[in-house]
């Protein structure tokens, strides 16, 4: 591999001048700069970024830590972040924690050892606070997304959970549904608490009672969604706002079983616009969390040195499952 020393020797100058020439330092003569560029091209020179990083004490690598790479939400966040960072000349080093706090700690240490320019982080589910992060990262910029700890410094990118849930519930109300339950998540998670709050606000803003007996807690997978939906039907509900996407899938199973034929019979809006929601039958009305944009925002927050909290709006996508003019099954 050719080095700047090789170029320097070939040109009878010193490595320092070559370095400056390649870096576009104005202190080197136009003439020599061109000669250096030409020779570099000629010898197929490529900078050894490892050496450069060592000398400069910093790298053009941004670390991204996520619970799981192959999760629709996270892979989209990564995709968004990568595209922004790549344009700015950064590369991404990716670590997955598989929801383990130990793995998160290890990942952060590794990234620190690589002297990454910043860390984009969404916490493992069993991280209870951000103390470990502060200690390990020191002065390395931190941008948290989705699963954040408010006490940690630095930018945070979160979804508009409350507002989204409000919008979804309001849509159901305005569509004429009279008794709207909710498939709520775990109250240990900030995101789900906010969604429940949004649901409640929409009801109360419309003069409808908030009835805790049709709030089905801890309902985030298909099976529990199915069971909860059956109960909701028995309880006289004609619509559901689901805090997740997979639980809504279970609800649809229940509707099928009951012979419901369309949104006239029962309406549902789910959170998280997973790919399948638009492909299944009935297609599911959802709240799009814009994971790709979340990744872009996280990357930009780093590039622009922001330290505030950004809230990414959730977009309501109305599909068959809440569209009263549309039969589910032909």
């Amino acid at each position: 591999m050719t080095t700047i020393t090789d170029i320097a020797k070939a040109l009878g100058i010193t490595p320092s001048t070559v370095s400056r020439a390649l870096a576009g330092n104005p202190r080197v003569k136009e003439e020599t700069r061109l000669a250096v560029k030409k020779k570099a091209e000629e010898l197929g020179y490529e900078q050894n970024v490892v050496a450069s990083n060592l000398r400069k004490g910093q790298s053009r690598i941004v670390g991204i830590v996520v619970p799981r790479i192959h999760r629709e939400f996270f892979s989209n966040v990564i995709g968004g972040a990568e595209s922004v960072l790549n344009k700015a000349g950064y590369n991404v080093l990716i670590c997955q924690t598989l929801e383990s706090l130990d793995a998160e700690i290890k990942a952060l240490k590794t990234l620190k050892n690589y002297r990454v320019a910043a860390v984009l982080l969404s916490h493992a589910i069993n991280a209870k606070n951000g103390n470990h992060v502060k200690e390990i990262l020191g002065s390395t910029p931190l941008i948290q997304f989705d699963r954040v700890f408010p006490d940690l410094p630095g930018a945070k990118i979160v979804g508009a959970n409350c507002e989204g849930a409000y919008k979804a519930t309001m849509h159901l109300i305005q569509s004429g549904y009279k008794r709207i339950g909710t498939l709520a998540g775990y109250m240990t998670s900030q995101a789900y608490v906010e969604r429940l709050a949004g649901y409640r606000m929409a009801l109360e803003a419309s003069g409808m009672p908030f009835d805790n007996s049709i709030v089905y807690y801890n309902t985030i997978v298909r099976e529990t969604g199915y069971e909860a939906a059956k109960k909701a039907i028995e309880a006289g509900c004609d619509a559901l706002y689901s805090c997740g996407a997979f639980s809504a899938l279970g609800a649809v199973d229940a509707f099928r079983e009951k012979g419901f034929k369309g949104a006239d019979d029962f309406g549902i809006v789910a959170t998280s616009n997973e790919g399948f929601t638009g492909l299944m039958s009935p297609s599911l009305s959802t709240l799009n969390q814009h994971p790709f944009e979340m990744g872009e925002a996280a990357a930009r927050a780093f590039l622009e040195g922001r330290t505030d909290t950004q809230v990414i709006p959730m977009e309501l996508i109305i599909r068959q499952s809440s569209n009263k003019n549309n039969k589910w099954l032909k």
Copy 2:
């Protein structure tokens, strides 16, 4: 940040001994090794991997280049590769090409400049050959997966396209379907050519004619799948093997339109076990390409220094769309 020199000074020894002690070199006394370890712990020492990599001329980073990070298939490959590599002490630097050859070239150069230990690569769709790779990567180990160029050196991990298509078609034949068409892909892609070959082999092995008039080429998205399926129905088909998953979705649209009620009316098996295939109604029988395992295999091929081609079997998953004993819609 504390360095090995700090540790050396604190202990009254030299950095070289500290380095060797931490590396577990047998030339250092047990006693000093323990002292070093203790002091390192005490001072919160973390190795500067950048300096280490520079000196050693290689890094513990593996580059992964994919067309798109947020594609179910690729994000799973990455997930699989990361989990294996991480256990072996490697980290992954990820680049997406967004199907652009220029971006692929740039990514490879970047990875080379980082002196990565290896590159795992799935080519951009408009890369016509592997010449650029050879030139840039030089001696850096290359492992290609999914989209590979046979002329490039190094390990290759591919799906068992022919065998999978054979299995899927054979399953339809054995289920009693009499006239089986296929939603074929682009014949410019090796994978689709092989799938068509497997389909043909199954027919011929069963004494059924291969009829090119019910081979629907270039059918890989929902819309074209829908159109092709309508034609297939008119042509008297009672089943389809689809080379993609999204085209099968279009076929299901067509079945719905025709009022088909179950696999007794029409059978279909799709390639690629995308998440939605198991969630839609009817659930789709598919060939699971095992992307996660493909990523694991690619990572292991590097770790074990393999240079052969591995074929990852495709698993037939039988669901409602080809199960004659099961009505699609209740």
